[in-house]
């Protein structure tokens, strides 16, 4: 269970939000909404532990994430605006490395299957620099297939994806939620996902 208690975020001398409370149960999806600049990405970076909230506390299974450190990172996958892929490495090398970094050492076979699923089967050995924006996004999202973490924090995962890929990701999210996983995501697109519980968190 992921809980946010009375979170506040300050950027410079501007307060982006305060008093944000939420609680996300197993199998639940939380969609963070709000206009541009309302602090969605800041909230997500807080939730994954990249930055500290100006006030309040984030708890993972009842313990503050600040005191969990590595244990929390082993339970969580974050995909942000930046794809975290290396232009000079091939698609499959990128996936092997990013999953090893996340603590999941996979072999070529598994990596290859994940890329096949995400629609990059024929582009495995191309360097990422020749891919389109949407294809790069797919490379980043392929990590979700191989890193079996319960909590996914996704910042605009559907951006730049085509209709087929959006459907694919929605299926992937549904499956993850059905298995008791948790998802926190921001998106401006309407999403069509059935889950045990879907909550909306509106930032001013």
């Amino acid at each position: 269970m992921l809980q946010g208690m009375n979170l506040a975020c300050v950027r410079g001398d501007r307060e982006l939000f305060r008093g944000v409370n939420f609680s996300l149960e197993e199998g639940g999806l939380m969609q963070v909404r709000g206009p541009n600049g309302s602090g969605k990405t800041s909230l997500l970076r807080m939730l994954c532990g990249l930055s500290n909230p100006a006030a309040g506390e984030i708890r993972w299974r009842g313990t503050a994430i600040r005191s969990l450190n590595g244990d929390y990172f082993a339970d969580m996958t974050y995909i942000g605006h930046l794809s975290g892929t290396k232009d000079d490495l091939t698609v499959i090398e990128n996936l092997l490395i990013s999953s090893a970094l996340a603590g999941f050492e996979i072999d070529m076979q598994e990596a290859s299957e994940a890329l096949e699923y995400i629609g990059l089967g024929s582009r495995q050995v191309l360097p990422v620099k020749v891919l389109s924006q949407g294809q790069r996004r797919r490379v980043a999202l392929a990590r979700l297939l191989v890193c079996k973490t319960p909590l996914w924090i996704l910042d605009e995962p559907l951006v730049a994806l085509d209709v087929m890929a959006v459907k694919l990701i929605q299926e992937l999210l549904e499956q993850h939620l059905k298995q008791g996983g948790m998802v926190v995501m921001t998106t401006h697109q309407e999403i069509d996902i059935t889950a045990a519980s879907i909550t909306q968190l509106q930032l001013a």
């Binding site: 590595g70 975290g84 970094l101």
Partner: protein, 217 residues
Amino acid sequence: MWIIKRDLLLAIRRQSDVLTTLFFFIIVVSLFPLSVGPEMNMLRVMAPGVVWVAALLASMLSLGRMFSNDYLDGTLEQMLLSPQSLSLLVLGKAIAHWLVTGMPLVLMAPVLGIQYDLPVDALLVLTVSLLLGTPVLSLIGAIGAALTLGLRGGGVLVSLLVLPLYIPVLIFGAGAVEANMSGVNFDAHLSLIGAFLLVSLVLAPWAAASSLKVSLE
């Protein structure tokens, strides 16, 4: 450690980065005999200092790239969020940085030393002192690179931050060769560089990891 392998793979795909450092070193070291003239005695005295200063500048040249590429494409974020210890990842990156930029200098130094008419045993001491000293440069440099990450004009700032910290290594590195040439025992110099290496092996990854966390917040 797979992160070393990854950085080496990236270096192979982008050989120009490696070669610029090496050629910078070669050219700077070669400029001195050309400009000073063939005065053997003077060259011999200058040699240790010149080679060491050139090594310092060359290793500094590539410091900016140590974390900035990973920072720009988001890999660094993922490193911070990795269940593996960030200090170990930083250590891996520093080792890779040394293998790519430091080791070629060590291998090249004896050849360049011939230009300065150094005797064989002095060449040997020079190489050993560089072998012990250049990893310290990469390790301390990692702290500077982490601190200046994402800052405008970070390249100049990193030299101001890191060069003063390089001074002890420079003094004892060049000192070892001078001691050898004047027939004095040089063990103490090399032991001290070895001690610097051990201390920075322990402290630098930790310090760089903490600065990375601050830089990314």
